[in-house]
């Protein structure tokens, strides 16, 4: 029998398809992965520590910097935790603004996810076509918030501003156009036989394992587990919208990818309904909250569904203006926990496919 020698390959920290500074120490037998050790922390900025020396409002811009592709959703989770701590009631209009801007953020994030995934598999065109629509999304968000990526739009008790004149119609028009674009990606990427050959039956994640390993978001739903917080325990006003939760069957890379693809169509549905409903609502976009926030002593944990999975904020207050402790349950970080077992036995090319299908965001992994 031929005796082969295993060798180590440093996959990253600087590698085109680790989506940031992430290192995978692969032990390879030929091209087959024997063992993989994910090493993260290259982007660790200590946001949890920084938060302890900032006031409650000042933390909002820092939460942007975690998942900077869907910044609004990060803001939202944080302000929800603080609102729960303080017992603030959020005005209805603010909730709608949060839904619209949050879903647009989710759309931007999913567009990046599918674009970069097609790039990981080797099709460059899907990447840039997805970016074209993302650009429009960013333009819309820029018009609303003033920034393109780090929005800092949510405030404790509401949102920073109302929609500018005509903005809702612009969003509506964009939503009308989007299904055609998604069809185009479907034709170019999802329907492609080579793409399917590359992603089907690769990196299979069983539902029980996914639940056991606390995996969330499209990665969990790709395995067929129906757990979307927007449906499972509707926060905000999500119980007013009619939408579906796309689920996969086999839990392979293709299902995870396809879940995101189908989720984008659900985003369109949600945003369209929200725009329809917000037009009938008048009122402030921010609740009456004191300028200096001093939540009562205690702690609160609140979680919402972001584009990557469940983001949870655990905020402890000691009664002062600054939080005693802020912890963030970052979906990308926890989704990576099972990566080692997922990669074993696959080829180097599949490593890229599996890592890409989890859709990690290194700002969030390293916090």
């Amino acid at each position: 029998m031929i005796r082969t020698q295993e060798y180590n390959l440093n996959f990253g920290p600087q590698h085109p398809s680790t989506h940031g500074v992430f290192r995978l120490l692969l032990t390879l037998d030929g091209e087959r992965v024997v063992k993989a050790e994910p090493i993260c922390g290259y982007l660790h900025r200590g946001i949890e520590k920084l938060a302890e020396s900032r006031t409650y409002t000042q933390i909002i811009p820092y939460t942007d910097r975690m998942d900077y592709l869907a910044a609004m959703l990060q803001n939202w989770g944080y302000v929800m935790a603080v609102e729960k701590l303080m017992g603030v009631e959020v005005p209805e209009k603010a909730e709608y603004m949060r839904v619209i801007s949050g879903e647009l953020s989710r759309l931007a994030s999913h567009l990046i996810a599918i674009g970069t995934y097609s790039l990981d598999i080797g099709a460059f065109t899907g990447f840039l076509l997805a970016f074209r629509e993302r650009e429009t999304t960013m333009d819309l968000l820029e018009e609303l918030t003033g920034s393109r990526m780090t929005l800092s739009f949510a405030r404790i008790g509401g949102v920073a501003a109302d929609a500018p004149e005509g903005w809702l119609d612009k969003v509506d028009k964009f939503m009308d156009k989007l299904p055609d674009c998604i069809d185009e990606y479907d034709g170019l990427i999802t329907g492609n036989e080579i793409f399917q050959a590359r992603t089907r039956d690769v990196g299979v994640l069983k539902p029980e394992t996914a639940i056991n390993y606390s995996i969330s978001g499209p990665t969990l739903r790709g395995s067929g587990v129906d757990y979307d917080l927007r449906k499972a325990k509707p926060y905000g006003i999500y119980d007013r919208f009619d939408f579906e939760v796309p689920l996969g069957k086999n839990g392979d890379c293709f299902d995870r990818f396809d879940c995101r693809m189908r989720e984008m169509r659900q985003i369109i549905r949600i945003v369209k309904q929200a725009i329809e409903q917000i037009k009938e609502i008048d009122g402030p976009v921010i609740a009456k909250v004191p300028k200096v926030l001093k939540p009562p002593k205690g702690d609160a944990y609140e979680e919402i569904e972001t584009s990557k999975g469940i983001i949870g904020y655990y905020v402890v207050s000691d009664g002062s203006t600054k939080p005693y402790r802020v912890h963030v349950r970052r979906p990308s970080f926890i989704n990576l926990g099972y990566l080692d077992e997922m990669l074993r036995g696959y080829l180097v090319a599949d490593v890229v496919a599996i890592l890409g299908s989890i859709d990690i965001m290194l700002g969030e992994v390293d916090c």
């Binding site: 520590k49 606390s214 325990k233 655990y314 990576l336």
Partner: protein
């Protein structure tokens, strides 16, 4: 059948005499009964999804509070379980055998807070350098540097 978090917490309070329930309906478990309680939570009550695990440092009370947020996928509610660890001897049994999701979260808590989880298969620093000294999220952590 238990349909929401408060009902579950009430039932838990009746069934296990060693736990406490505080006013925010979080369950407080003594550290030595943690594994037993968690196993029961998973097996008997279908709380199969460890959403979040973290810790907070309370030097004034000389303790670390470790917080577990556990959800049920089926019913979609979350309960909060807390336990305290002595600050001088921060050792706690790992819940990794119960929920695999604790794997990286416990590593992170170990890394930033310095709580040693006994029974964890690979308790190593995860965010900071392997040779880093100290645990930054402890309140008494001193550091140099910064801009001002």
């Amino acid at each position: 059948m238990i349909e929401n978090a408060t009902a579950l917490v009430e039932e838990l309070g009746k069934k296990f005499d060693y736990i406490e329930v505080n006013e925010q309906s979080s369950v407080i478990v003594p550290a030595d009964k943690l594994l037993e309680f968690m196993q029961a939570l998973k097996d008997d009550y279908g709380m199969d999804f460890l959403t979040n695990e973290t810790a907070a440092d309370y030097p004034s009370e000389n303790k670390f509070e470790v917080v577990y947020n556990i959800s049920s996928i089926e019913k979609g509610f979350t309960i909060m379980v807390k336990t305290s660890v002595d600050r001088d001897n921060p050792e706690l049994p790992s819940v990794f055998p119960i929920w695999g999701g604790a794997n990286w979260q416990e590593r992170e808590v170990y890394d930033l807070m310095g709580i040693i989880f006994t029974g964890h298969p690979y308790l190593k620093r995860i965010l900071l350098d392997y040779d880093y000294e100290g645990h930054p999220l402890r309140k008494d952590f001193q550091w140099k540097g910064g801009r001002e």
